[in-house]
Amino acid sequence: MADTKNTKNNEEMLSSVPTLEEDYDYGFSDDVKPTFSTGRGLTEDIVRQISAHKKEPKWMLDFRLKSYELYKKLPMPEFGPDLSDLDLKNMLYFQTATDKKYRDWDDVPEEIKDTFEKLGVPEAERKYLAGSSAQYESEVVYHNMKDEFQKLGIIFTDMDTALKEYPDLVKQYWAKLVPPSDNKFAALNSAVWSGGTFIYVPKGVKTDTPMQSYFRINAENSGQFERTMIIVDEGGSVNYVEGCTAPNYSSDSLHAAVVEVNVLKDAYCRYTTIQNWSKNVYSLETKRAQALENGTMEWVDGNLGSKITMKYPSVYLNGRGAHGTMLSIAVAGEGVDQDAGARMIHNAPETSSSIVSKSIAKDGGAVDYRGTVRFGRKSDGSFAHVECDTIIMDEKSSSDTIPYNQIKNGNVSMEHEAKVSKISEEQLYYLMTRGISEEKATEMIIMGFVEPFTKELPMEYAVELNRLISYEMEGSVG
């Protein structure tokens, strides 16, 4: 089924890459369970408690303990945004979904309620997104989808269930792409992970229906330390969507997920994330994929909120003809630092990759692109294209573009382009000569700017994202 030899060979390459990546959250659970929380702070005992509570196999406990030791040793990332305010000692590392303190709807900040109103978010969803409800009424949709997937032999469940029901499959791929030694937050996730999604698509099975994490229930997937794993077997295809455009209020100040995607020979995976955390959240995620022979991995990634985001999804192009893409937008408003990018690692001949990054900084926000394209010794005939465009809306905002391009093969080509500017005065003038107001014209230009991204989203996400941007642009002129 899987090319384990190949996977092993690549471990060495993978572990040599210091990576720090993203996080998100989309959980909801209606399963009423006894209260269980490990309290604040992290000790070895807590790691053991988590594993025991989940009745995990011994190898997983060992893995968690080893990861915990690494977590203690590894340094904080030495690049990018300032993480010195992140209080790791005073954090809740494990709680079941039902223990979460749900806030009174009256306590939800007006700003967030306003945004829901503007976006036309349904009433039931609002409470969930605002963190005042664990419920989400999508059971019917979910079950319909689940039936369809079951017929095809697709496994689509939460990570904890997958570990119980498919232990061999999980173990085979577990932490092969993101070893706990990768970075401090990958180690932390490895030690205390809970929830997340597991998808297995069998050989040759293709689905058109996007699998949305939105429609999963009964899972402890609302955690801060999700672990997601996707395996698309040879010739299979899957389109996975997570997150949501509307602001997602989280009481957790740190989200450190790990995502591992294995795209086997001739397989295809698109992984779409839209993330709009509230501005108290540190979103530090490690997302990594490998694509084997003629496999295609596509990341579609939108980051709209959070206090600090550090997320650089990567694709290891490990088989001949493998293809990887990253299409991202980042919008940073007041108090937001989006440090995001992508990594494309060409380890095999005739591989290709493309990175398109669109960023907008406004009201004092910072958007940084940080990326790597690497061509290994065996990457003959490979090609990479990188395009970074940034609009800085006002003089309070800023943007850094930091691309690394390393080449160890003479028979490759790489093109990189980046632009940073304010909104084009020429375009603004043109639209205004047709009677369109400056505010509306600005909005149109911004929409056009992010259009390459929105056009790749499922319709309901695209509509919502456009509304959100329109809302964000209000008052940004004059």
Binding site: S398, T401, P403, Y404, N405, K408, G410, S413, M414, E415
Partner: protein
């Protein structure tokens, strides 16, 4: 070998060196202060360049040793019409010539020790005070403490020098000796000058070099600065060129980074005054097992400043070339422009190339952009040349020369241009020969 964290040089030795050269007290102080600060300072950080194992601060002998007389005759000098010429070998200055009319107008061209004595006040104000400070890093402090040769060029207000001033600086590696060379080029208000420097190495002793050029371009001045760097394979070098540009000043850099040993080149232009403008053109070739890092940085501080970086590099054999371009626009530099282009040609599967074009933008009323590419020799061009009967290797060299031509064209002196072309040709030929093995 590891970088020395503490300098094995006593303050006494520095002081006696300073005394032997009859340096003014401020210079002796500058040296001893730098020596004292060395321990506490950090090594400069260059993205994606790791030089921790390089012996850059492992001084062997910095004080004067006499270069053999026959060596001094060996150096070749371009016979082009020049406004001035200075030749230095090791710690010796062998020739200084300056057009009489220019001298009468107040232009100064001399070695750094004479300059300290005769123009002490001018040097005191600018020597490692404006474009770069001695306490910027361990490497600048090393330089300040142990500087053992150099030159001073001053162009007075409003003086325009048409012909180039040519400088030839040879490291003497027939013996053990550090090469710590300093240039101070001061272009006063409204002046214009074309300066061309050549660095080379005679001999194959393993030595270190710490080279620094400070260019202070005052209001409305225009400096054309060309350089051909050809330090030898056994020299480990830190080479720094620092431009400080005041209102409406301009510096055009045209640099051929053709050294054969491990080297870090640190080129920087600080656009301090409103309307200042810097063009930084760099070409580099890495061959053999050489590790070459080039960081070209332009920082827009003033309003309406323009900074353009153009870097083209070729990598052969098992060599490494890391090209960093850094365009930074600080808050308040409204109406500024920062553009860069980094292009690398890879001719070998065993080489390593890095092209890292970095933009750091803190202002919105600006234009900033970069492009980078890494690739092979253009096949269309190769096909065209070979269809005319030119063999593959020659065709390849021709295409590469075209690729590097952008900087070549910027070098004003014909002889220097020819010399750089020749150097490129030789380096490429060497690279191609071993490529087959």
């Amino acid at each position: 070998m590891k970088l020395a964290q503490t300098l094995p040089v006593s303050p006494d030795k520095v002081q006696s060196f300073s005394k032997a050269h009859e340096e003014p007290a401020w210079m002796t102080d500058l040296r001893t202060t730098a020596l004292n600060q060395f321990d506490d300072l950090e090594f400069p950080k260059f993205e994606r360049m790791n030089y921790r194992n390089w012996p850059l601060t492992n001084t062997q002998e910095f004080a004067d040793t006499v270069s053999k007389a026959d060596l001094l005759d060996k150096v070749t000098i371009a016979e082009e019409k020049a406004a001035g010429v200075i030749v230095q070998v090791g710690t010796t200055t062998t020739k200084v010539e300056l057009d009489e009319d220019l001298a009468a107008k107040g232009v100064i061209l001399t070695d750094i020790f004479t300059a300290q004595q005769k123009y002490s006040e001018l040097l005191k104000e600018y020597y490692m005070q404006v474009a770069v400070k001695a306490d910027s890093s361990k490497l600048t402090a090393f330089h300040a403490a142990l500087m053992n040769n150099g030159a001073f060029l001053y162009v007075p207000k409003g003086v325009v020098i048409k012909e180039p001033i040519q400088a030839f600086y040879y490291q003497d590696s027939t013996q053990v000796q550090d090469f710590v060379h300093h240039l101070l080029l001061l272009a006063d208000e409204g002046s214009e000058v074309t300066y061309l420097e050549n660095f080379g190495t005679i001999g194959d002793t393993e030595n270190i070099a710490n080279i620094m050029a400070e260019v202070v371009a005052k209001d409305n001045s225009y400096v054309h600065f060309s350089a051909v760097d050809q330090l030898g394979p056994n020299t480990t070098t830190y080479l720094s060129r620092q431009g400080h540009l005041m209102q409406d000043a301009r510096i055009d850099w045209a640099i051929g980074a053709m050294s054969n040993g491990n080297i870090i080149s640190d080129f920087n232009s600080a656009l301090r005054g409103e309307g200042a403008h810097a063009e930084a053109n760099v070409v580099a070739i890495s061959t053999g097992k050489q590790v070459q890092g080039v960081e070209t940085r332009v920082t827009n501080f003033g309003r309406r400043t323009i900074g353009n970086i153009l870097q083209h590099g070729v990598i052969l054999q098992k060599a490494t070339l890391t090209f960093n371009g850094v365009g930074q626009i600080v808050k308040g530099a409204r109406g500024s422009d920062s553009q860069q282009e980094n292009r690398v040609l890879m001719l070998s599967n065993k080489s390593i190339g890095d092209a890292n074009p970095i933009l750091l933008i803190d202002e919105n009323d600006v234009r900033a952009g970069h492009a980078a590419s890494v690739g092979r020799v253009d096949e269309q061009q190769m096909y065209y040349l070979m269809s005319r009967g030119i063999d593959k290797k020659t065709a390849e060299r021709l295409v590469i020369r075209g690729f590097l031509g952008s900087v070549l064209a910027e070098i004003p002196a014909k002889a220097a241009r020819a010399q750089l072309t020749e150097t490129i040709e030789r380096k490429l030929q060497d690279g191609q020969t071993t490529e087959d093995d």
